[in-house]
């Protein structure tokens, strides 16, 4: 698919010397749902503000449809934004808020009416055209803000932490609606969030950011299954991370034992981080397990039990079990070689991909 937005070596330094983005490269293809995911202060909102044109960049270039738009003012860009606080105009009613962009373009009245009605239909609030903004609930404001943005038919829709102000149930509902809308409209969505579950559920592709850099990008499953470093592994989902040593290809030693694994391409006896996802660990009998652990606590979370256990060397293990266990019980833990994910310390995403290419998965 065609690249619609590209950032080349973009850096952003504020007047007070704070470097929000460092040599950032990013490519966004048209028609997909992207998430930019990171903890607060990682620079994800800055990326969005730069694409929208609210922030200038210190160095580097920004391309839209292969055209350099680094210096183009925000009001000429073909992107629209849904703001975190919705930013609906309080002195205008719902209709006038949505029609704002179309009126600026001096479209004929009939067309504006039709398009506004259409946009309201899309966000499933067709009866709310003459409401005041102050009469709307949070979720309704959210949807009106989306309608106001999509009525202008942008090629890219930017969403800044747009669901973070909603309660959990409403948020789930809005996630489905966003996904449906993106499929309906066929335009690119760039969604900024700090909620990893949200990003995993919604996105075709995710950019993980930390300290002004993109740490990893890829599909949700790619990132979940093959985190490139400890930061990503901890940020995306829950995981058990232990120090280990790569003995030879396809063999790794941790917690004093050597295990068969699916990773290769590292030096002999190289120190590594080993990631085991809690849902990949199965509780079995002590003789059948690869590790022996003692159950410390367990919590019922509705669809599974979250079990905390500790092995003979004192390492903590988080296990998602389908059946209840009893605290204090000694059990075995079983996992397959593919469940072990070995991360080289300080390996960048590029090196990681090159190594994977060479050795296959």
């Amino acid at each position: 698919m065609a690249t619609i937005i590209e950032m080349k070596n973009v850096s952003k330094r504020y007047d007070d010397g704070f470097e929000a983005l460092t040599n950032l490269n990013l490519k966004i293809e048209s028609g997909k749902f992207y998430s930019i995911l990171g903890p607060s202060g990682s620079g994800k909102t800055t990326v969005l503000r730069i694409i929208a044109g609210f922030s200038d960049i210190t160095s580097g270039a920004l391309y839209f449809d292969n055209q350099n738009i680094t210096d183009m003012p925000a009001n000429q860009r073909k992107v629209n934004t849904v703001f975190q606080d919705y930013a609906l105009f309080p002195h205008l009613n719902v209709f006038d808020n949505i029609a704002f962009g179309l009126k600026l373009k001096k479209r004929p009245k009939e067309e504006i009416k039709e398009k506004v009605a259409n946009a309201l239909e899309k966000v499933r609030l067709p009866q709310h055209s003459d409401r005041e903004i102050s009469e709307l609930s949070g979720g309704q404001k959210q949807r009106i803000a989306i309608a106001r943005a999509i009525v202008n038919e942008p090629k890219v829709l930017l969403l800044d932490e747009s669901l973070s102000a909603l309660d959990k149930k409403l948020r789930k509902d809005m996630q489905y609606q966003l996904r449906r809308l993106q499929k309906d409209l066929g335009i690119t969505f760039v969604f900024v969030t700090h909620d990893q579950e949200e990003a995993l559920a919604l996105s075709d592709e995710i950019f993980i950011m930390n300290e002004g850099k993109i740490i990893q990008n890829g599909t949700a499953t790619d990132i979940y299954d093959e985190p490139v470093n400890r930061f990503v592994a901890e940020f995306i989902g829950e995981s058990n991370i232990v120090d280990g040593v790569m003995k030879v290809d396809y063999s790794v030693e941790f917690v004093g034992k050597t295990f068969e694994c699916a990773d290769a391409g590292m030096q002999q006896n190289e120190p590594v981080h080993v990631v085991l996802r809690p849902e990949d660990l199965d509780i079995t009998l002590v003789d059948e397990g690869k590790l022996t652990v003692t159950i410390v606590s367990q919590m019922f979370l509705g669809n599974h039990f979250e079990v905390n256990a500790v092995d003979e060397d004192g390492n903590q293990w988080l296990i998602h079990a389908t059946n209840s266990v009893s605290v204090g019980q000694k059990v075995g833990v079983y996992f397959d070689p593919e469940d072990i994910h070995v991360m080289r310390i300080g390996e960048s995403q590029v090196d990681f991909h090159n190594r994977i290419e060479e050795y296959g998965e």
């Binding site: 925000a74 000429q76 934004t81 930013a87 105009f89 373009k105 005041e132 106001r148």
Partner: protein, 271 residues
């Protein structure tokens, strides 16, 4: 709670009496047929009659109102632009010094402002009269307007401005379609504050009226100096009633607006 409110009531009543007693005393004697306020003779409308037959006084009243309207109108325009400028200054030190310059004008005594304008106008060879008073009134009303509008500007959520640009608005459109409507309450209250400041200003005006032109406050002062005439009481009563009417009118206007909003909401709910 009850006891406390009783004390509050007594206190409030006392304050009100102290504040309003002189005015009501004045009003009371405006209906007395005598020539002085030492004792009430008999009820009469004579002083009001005399007022209506005094074309000079009526002219002065009209002049004063015209002056106040013009001064507050210009002051509102200049003050709005000034507030917009001060608000968009990025450097904090510059913004604060501008604001301080604005505030100094507000707190400096009227006598000094009046005297300095007198010196300026005589130095520049500007003849004293309606225009000199108008210029000085505009000058001391601008800071008030600025102060009334700035908080409204600060209240505006900056993402609203971002959103307007995002939807394709030009700088001018952002100002006319977003900022101005949002600060309109501030502009209106600035206008009314300026109006009252200009209407009852004495000190500055006193320096700058020159010959031939005078405002109500200056006229009342000069008449009171020549000896109390109960005609002034009648005039003061009328002015008091007029301002009372303004306040009541303002109250009902704001009530009406609120009710309309609530009714709108009710209508929609029942619909």
């Amino acid at each position: 709670m009850k006891k406390k409110s009783k004390f509050e009531l007594i206190y409030l009543t006392l304050v009100m009496i102290v504040l309003y007693f002189p005015i009501f005393y004045l009003i009371y004697f405006s209906f007395s047929s005598g020539d002085s306020m030492s004792y009430f003779e008999s009820f009469t409308f004579d002083h009001y009659q005399a007022l209506l037959n005094d074309p000079r006084l009526i002219r002065i009243v009209l002049d004063t109102i015209l002056l106040a309207l013009l001064a507050s109108l210009f002051a509102t325009m200049i003050g709005t632009l000034g507030a917009l400028y001060i608000h968009q200054v990025k450097k904090k030190s510059v913004r604060n010094s501008l604001l301080s310059l604005n505030n100094i004008l507000l707190v400096s005594p009227d006598v000094i402002i009046g005297a300095s304008f007198l010196i300026l106008f005589t130095f520049a060879g500007f003849s004293l009269g309606f225009y000199s008073v108008l210029l000085s009134h505009i000058a001391f009303c601008v800071p008030i307007v600025v102060l009334m509008i700035l908080p409204k500007l600060k209240e505006i959520n900056p993402t609203l401005i971002d959103a307007a640009y995002d939807l394709g608005a030009s700088k001018y459109k952002v100002l006319s379609a977003i900022i101005l409507p949002l600060i309109t309450p501030g502009i209106l209250s600035g206008f009314f504050m300026a109006l009252t400041y200009s209407l009852d200003d004495f000190a500055v005006t006193f320096f700058l009226t020159g010959q031939g032109f005078t405002t109500l406050s200056v006229e009342i002062f000069s008449r009171a100096r020549r000896g109390i005439s109960l005609e002034i009481n009648a005039l003061s009563t009328l002015m008091f009633l007029f301002s009372l009417l303004l306040v009541i009118g303002y109250y009902f206007l704001s009530r009406y607006n609120q009710n309309r909003k609530i009714n709108n909401q009710k209508k929609k709910v029942t619909k």
